[in-house]
């Protein structure tokens, strides 16, 4: 017996919200991507807890896929970051406001 299921979920939720705040509040593009990573990780934690609670391995399998998605997202995201930094010289997300209407 470890902990009640709800506690793990609360932990996962809290970490997820921390990641959300990081994404929303930072202007630096790198920090936004960091926030996304935190959120993905928290989701994975919730899945593992669920897998243990319901005694099925499918939850853990899904974490594999989360990691795959996170990997591709980090790769492309950072490539985009490098590309746009080269094009515009700015790493401030607030400077990319061409869609302002």
């Amino acid at each position: 017996m470890i902990v009640p299921f709800g506690h793990v979920l609360i932990l996962a939720g809290a970490v997820f919200l921390i990641g959300a705040v990081c994404t929303m509040a930072h202007r630096n593009l790198i920090m936004i991507l960091v926030g996304v990573e935190i959120m993905l990780n928290a989701a994975g934690l919730a899945f593992v807890a669920g897998s243990l609670h319901w005694w099925r391995l499918d939850g853990q399998a899904f974490v594999i896929f989360i990691m795959a998605a996170a990997a591709s997202e980090v790769a492309v995201g950072l490539a985009l970051f490098v590309y746009s930094e080269r094009r515009t010289g700015s790493m401030d997300a607030d400077d990319y406001d061409v869609l302002k209407g």
């Binding site: 470890i2 709800g6 970490v15 921390i18 935190i38 391995l57 853990q60 492309v76 490098v82």
Partner: protein, 179 residues
């Protein structure tokens, strides 16, 4: 808090580490510092995975997240050298107000939700998923998703290669402009 057995102590300690390091990572101005704290957070999460009976995932978490992603982040940070968000610091606190408030409200709601569910009170059993069994489930039931995920990684590779190539005529950089 029912039961102060050793597993729960370990869990709460690790949870504290994860939370604290995540918070610290988020509040750093220097991205390198943030990435460091984040590595700690991921390692803590890996340990929690092991506690919750997913040894393979714990290993993967440590290898991939902490070992690959964060290293990649560091590479890019070192290459591009973003300036720390020191400028315009006075308005910095104001930017955090709304997201923090929203997050607080969400946390409160999540607490209500989790507290209201009777299923959340059952204790998680201590178990360990055998890697062989896990591998069988993965490749028997989700082989198609494995293929798709590998294709996804391939696409990401190609994309990253294309986006990262050197241009022949670098044009004058303009803020907010794009091609």
């Amino acid at each position: 808090m029912s039961g102060f057995n050793p597993y729960s102590v370990i869990f709460y300690g690790l949870g504290l580490i994860v939370l604290a390091s995540s918070l610290l990572a988020v509040t750093r101005r220097n991205p390198v510092h943030a990435v460091m704290y984040l590595i700690a957070s991921f390692l803590g999460t890996a340990a929690i995975f092991y506690l919750l009976g997913a040894p393979l995932l714990a290993a993967l978490e440590a290898i991939l997240y902490a070992g690959a992603f964060m290293v990649l982040f560091l590479f890019i940070i070192m290459t591009v050298k973003p300036e720390a968000e020191g400028k315009r610091g006075r308005a910095r606190a104001r930017r955090w107000l709304l997201p923090a408030a929203l997050a607080g409200v969400s946390l409160f709601l999540v607490l209500i939700l989790v507290g209201a569910d009777p299923g959340g009170r059952t204790l998680l059993p201590a178990a360990m998923a055998q890697p062989a069994a896990f591998g069988r489930v993965l490749f028997e039931r989700y082989w198609f998703s494995i293929e798709v995920a590998s294709f996804l990684l391939f696409v990401a590779l190609v994309g990253a290669l294309y986006l990262g190539r050197r241009m022949e005529d670098p044009t004058e950089p303009t803020v907010g402009g794009e091609r």
